[in-house]
């Protein structure tokens, strides 16, 4: 490769990556995006849950217990999606030193942990009447429990150091190592013989779930996904503002 080409290309990539790293620009953009996440989230979730609770039929085998699906499945999807985003933010932080990536990882962590806990709890409430047990150490349930511990570990690690930068770095390394759990969660039902059912919706095949049950699930999944990112965006905006306040106060103290 021509040396002059590689040297010239690097700042361009850096500029593109850091374009929204400026806190002021990020705050302006995020404030504009926030309503487009929040209001569709409320609408889609309301439609999905109303459809799931009152309009969709009971399952021919599980009866009304299937209605837990409309919150359990989106929570499970968001638990993995949130961790993937956490790992991506960690990669941006470690490799490209993106100034907002650390804050994004810190703010995704608690929200991801909450939806993972919700996934585990609703799964347990669904499991008791259908499987006859609250919990079983099968591959899917155990790998999601490991994901919950990864979130908790990340939250603790980023706050464990006096110097925040060291905490962010340690948390980013943990997040990247922990990302290996995501394919294990996804393929656990295929790789091992599990009590948990295999996926009903895949990218490669037609869904094995009736359309009358599928549309409320699609709405609740879309609504809760938008809601997840609305909450993360609001938390990240607050974190950027808090960091700016600390910076201004430090500068003021140094000048005095």
């Amino acid at each position: 490769m021509d040396a002059s080409t590689s040297i010239a290309a690097r700042p361009t990539r850096g500029r593109l990556l850091h374009r929204f790293a400026n806190p002021g620009r990020f705050l302006r953009l995020a404030a504009r995006v926030q309503p487009f996440l929040t209001w569709p989230a409320l609408l889609c979730t309301a439609v999905g849950l109303y459809g799931g609770l009152f309009l969709s039929p009971a399952d021919y085998q599980q009866g009304d217990m299937v209605r837990i699906m409309y919150i359990h499945v989106p929570a499970a999807w968001l638990a993995s999606q949130g961790y993937a985003a956490l790992a991506l933010a960690s990669l941006l932080s470690l490799v490209w030193r993106h100034p907002l990536a650390d804050l994004a990882a810190v703010e995704i962590g608690p929200v991801g942990a909450a939806v993972t806990a919700l996934c585990l709890a609703t799964g347990s409430l669904w499991g008791k009447p259908t499987w006859g047990t609250w919990w079983v150490w099968d591959a899917r349930l155990t790998s999601v429990l490991v994901l919950f511990f990864l979130y908790i570990g990340h939250m603790m690690l980023v706050r464990a150091f006096d110097e925040p930068e060291r905490g962010y770095r340690a948390g980013a390394i943990l997040a990247l190592i922990g990302a290996v759990d995501l394919p294990i969660i996804k393929y656990s039902v295929a790789w091992w013989n599990t009590l948990h059912q295999p996926a009903s919706i895949t990218l490669t095949g037609a869904p094995t779930i009736a359309g009358s049950l599928l549309w409320p699930l699609a709405f609740s999944t879309l609504g809760l996904t938008l809601g997840f990112w609305a909450v993360v965006t609001a938390r990240l905006r607050a974190a950027v503002m808090e960091r700016r306040v600390r910076g201004l106060l430090s500068a003021q103290a140094a000048a005095a």
Binding site: L53, G63, D64, M65, R67, I68, I71, H72, A75, V111, A114, V115, A117, L118, A121, T122, L125, W126, K128, P129, L224, G227, A230, V231, A234, R235, R237, A238, A239, M241, E242, R244, V245, L248, L249, A251, Q252
Partner: protein, 46 residues
């Protein structure tokens, strides 16, 4: 519906988590906005 308590418990848990996250984020954002505005005004940085 013999399984109604399980369904109700799942949805109640869902409501607690979602409302908790949303209200927590909203309150924090509001407080951070007010604090930044106050500090900006005091330091005259805008």
């Amino acid at each position: 519906m013999t399984h109604l308590p399980y369904i109700l418990a799942a949805y109640a848990l869902f409501a607690v988590v979602v409302v908790g996250l949303a209200v927590g984020a909203g309150v924090r954002l509001r407080q951070a906005t007010a604090r930044l505005r106050a500090v900006d005004k005091r330091t005259g940085s805008r």
